[in-house]
């Protein structure tokens, strides 16, 4: 089955990285909330259209919502400190928080988009193509997969423990947490060794010419790079105008 938005998804990892990097930098340069909101809408639309808007993405928003009260207090206090009254300060703080939240969403969604649209192998081979040392690439590869694999493994271990009578509420006890983290760590170490061996035998660390690994430049790459440059058009034009005046 052909993946949705295949043209964009098949673009090389460096093009996607360049796009995300440019977008993240722009989010902090941009002061207009409407532009940021539009970027968020586009990114969310692309994620949804590609079928990658899953529970993990919702979880990120959940984490943000959980931290919102603390952020609210910090921003409102900052606003009050800058202005003369509580009312003005609160409004100022809320404005800052809104802008901050929009920038954060741009950052998160751009990164999620790159991660979801880039296969591990693309990431790995792009790093090799950039000429990074083989051992460093193996290390990065192991690290990239570490978190999702550790989570999957932890879920597996909890499942086995539940099969042997562990009640969910017992998980909060330190003794049970230890019985979760120690095996996950040990199994992860063992698996990382096996994986490194498998990748090394498949030539990831071989001293082959890295030029051969460079991905072909396709329409997706052109679109990503064009978008990465296009978002800077207005700021650059403003700069030029200011300079000429």
């Amino acid at each position: 089955m052909k993946p949705r938005l295949a043209v964009l998804r098949r673009a090389a990892a460096p093009s996607k990285f360049a796009f995300a990097l440019s977008l993240c930098a722009y989010a902090f340069a941009c002061q207009d909330w409407r532009v940021l909101a539009a970027i968020i809408a586009i990114l969310a639309g692309l994620l949804a259209a590609s079928g990658e808007w899953d529970r993990g993405v919702w979880l990120l928003f959940g984490v943000f919502a959980a931290g919102l009260p603390t952020l609210l207090v910090l921003f409102v206090l900052g606003g009050v400190e800058k202005s003369g009254s509580w009312t003005e300060g609160t409004l100022l703080g809320l404005g800052w928080l809104g802008l901050f939240a929009l920038r954060l969403f741009v950052l998160v969604l751009a990164d999620v988009l790159v991660v979801k649209w880039t296969g591990f192998s693309d990431m790995l081979l792009s790093l090799r193509a950039l000429g990074l040392p083989a051992k460093a690439v193996l290390f990065v590869s192991a690290m990239v997969g570490l978190l999702p694999r550790a989570f999957a493994l932890a879920r597996q271990v909890v499942e086995v423990q539940r099969c042997r009578g562990l009640a969910p509420k017992q998980l909060a006890r330190p003794r049970h947490l230890l019985a979760l983290f120690v095996p996950v760590f040990l199994i992860q170490m063992r698996r990382a060794t096996d994986l490194a061996l498998s990748l090394e035998l498949r030539g990831i660390a071989a001293a082959a010419a890295t030029a051969g690994l460079r991905p072909p430049f396709g329409p997706g790459d052109a679109l990503f790079l064009a978008a990465a440059l296009a978002i800077w058009t207005e700021p650059v034009l403003n700069l030029v105008r200011a300079w000429t005046i």
């Binding site: 993946p3 192998s121 597996q156």
Partner: protein, 472 residues
């Protein structure tokens, strides 16, 4: 390809001593392997088969910590420091730890792409391999959602794709169904004959291996005790076929488990189980067969309560609940151990049942002794061999004394002797009135222990047959 061709692998008085030990794990190995040879490495658990295999394919420096002594050469170049790049491929016992990518096609292609092979050639190779193994329509499937058997197949394909000169497969058929295993061995045979590959296969299923290999290397106690054709290899007696548990008597107590019209699907995928009916009586051993991805593991998980059927009903005997009364042993023993000692691992369920310490200790002792691993009680379970871990996983389930046992591929990684122990344990459970449902690809084991066999196909139990021989 002729017997006179120069050896690809040559070992002379080869020995390996693991780090932290003074006695070698194996020693005195002298042999030469020529292009096109199909070598089976056999022997009991812990005899040094895997360690020898890693040396013969030159992966020892990458995978093992210790000292290699003697002489080892690949194409007459010194091999003590490992094999040259591209020389060898290796598929280890645990397929889950060797897979890196998101999708099947991505995984199979990775080795080719990393060598700078042109995209069109990568695509052609991958497509041909996937088509050969019937995976052409699943190329974009997520690896995370595959059955362990399919994961094993993908791990093997990812190594076949890189066209190594020597390929080491450690228990390659442990999770594969018979059809996939036959297909794999036929393919390997052709590659050895036509391309001069050397296939080194570590396998407990000697009958299947004898049909593939043209040479057996038998290890025992760290020594190479046999090097010759399979036909002359002294075979041990197989599993005793005549000691199956008797079919359960109808005691009027009703079945231990009844499934009616069970339907289950992962997400929006096509249903794995679709209208499945199955009844399991007390004292009965039902062997569940079917190809990779047929839904065997899914069914066992549903019975344990790790998922809910989308439709249909799954009923245990009155008063029973799946959490307490169903014991599930999963396929991969590496993913089922978590305690600091073997005894603690085995006593985990009884402890969660709130039993007194003396009772827990008694259950642990009995379960471990029953599977022949009583002497390992104080060892860390992570240091056990694959076969020992497998037996520990079963002991840990038996210690909970559940009236229904669901065992997923209980014989994986077991040698003949341990398989006989496993068969005896299963029979004993049935004789004591427990209902046993086991998923297995091993027809010998099924014939040895099962009172009934059910085959899953298209999500249903489509075939039931009495094992040959009849109950005693």
């Amino acid at each position: 390809m002729t017997p006179a061709a120069p050896a690809v692998i040559r070992a002379e008085n080869l020995a390996f001593t693991p780090a932290g030990r003074t006695d070698p794990l194996f020693s005195g190995v002298t042999l030469a392997i020529r292009p096109g040879e199909r070598v089976g490495i056999v022997g009991p658990s812990g005899s040094g088969k895997t360690t020898l295999g890693y040396h013969l394919c030159g992966a020892h420096r990458l995978a093992l910590a210790g000292t290699t002594a003697g002489a080892l050469a690949f194409d007459d170049g010194c091999g003590l420091g490992g094999a040259p790049p591209g020389f060898a491929g290796l598929v280890a016992q645990n397929p889950e730890s060797q897979l890196f990518c998101d999708t099947i096609a991505e995984e199979v292609t990775l080795g080719l792409r990393s060598r700078g092979v042109a995209p069109a050639a990568c695509e052609a190779t991958t497509t041909a391999l996937l088509a050969r193994y019937g995976l052409q329509d699943r190329r974009d499937d997520s690896i995370a959602g595959l059955s362990l058997g399919r994961k094993q197949l993908v791990a093997i394909l990812s190594m076949l794709a890189i066209v190594p000169r020597v390929l080491l497969l450690d228990e390659p058929t442990s999770y594969l169904d018979a059809q996939a295993a036959d297909r794999l061995f036929a393919h390997l045979r052709a590659l050895c004959r036509d391309e001069g590959w050397v296939a080194l296969v570590i396998e407990h299923d000697l009958r299947r291996l004898a049909g593939f290999a043209d040479r057996f290397l038998a290890m025992d106690g760290g020594r190479l005790v046999y090097d010759g054709p399979p036909a002359e290899f002294p075979q041990r007696p197989g599993l005793p076929r005549r000691r199956r548990p008797a079919a359960p008597a109808n005691d009027g107590a009703g079945p231990a488990l009844r499934l009616r019209g069970v339907r289950f699907a992962y997400g929006r995928d096509a249903p794995v189980l679709d209208g499945l009916d199955l009844t399991l009586a007390r004292g009965e051993v039902v062997a569940l067969g079917g190809g990779n991805g047929a839904g065997k593991t899914t069914l066992l998980r549903l019975i344990k309560g790790l998922g809910k059927p989308a439709a249909g009903s799954l009923e245990l005997a009155p008063g029973r609940n799946p959490g307490r009364d169903v014991g599930l042993m999963l396929q991969n023993p590496d993913a089922q151990i978590f305690a600091h000692t073997v005894a603690a691992e085995c006593g985990y369920w009884p402890a969660n049942l709130g039993l007194p310490p003396a009772e827990i200790e008694a259950r642990v002792r009995e379960a471990l002794a029953g599977l022949g691993i009583g002497h390992l009680a104080d060892r860390s379970p992570f240091t056990l061999s694959f076969g020992e871990k497998r037996r520990l996983c079963l002991a840990a389930v038996l210690a909970g004394a559940p009236p229904i046992l669901c065992l997923d591929e209980p014989t994986t990684g077991l040698d003949d002797a341990n398989m006989a122990v496993m068969a005896e344990v299963v029979r004993r459970q049935a004789t004591s009135g427990r209902a046993v449902l086991l998923a297995t690809h091993d027809p010998d084991f099924a014939a040895c222990v099962a009172t009934r066999r059910v085959r899953l196909e298209g999500g249903r139990a489509v075939e039931e047959a009495k094992p040959p021989g009849g109950a005693p």
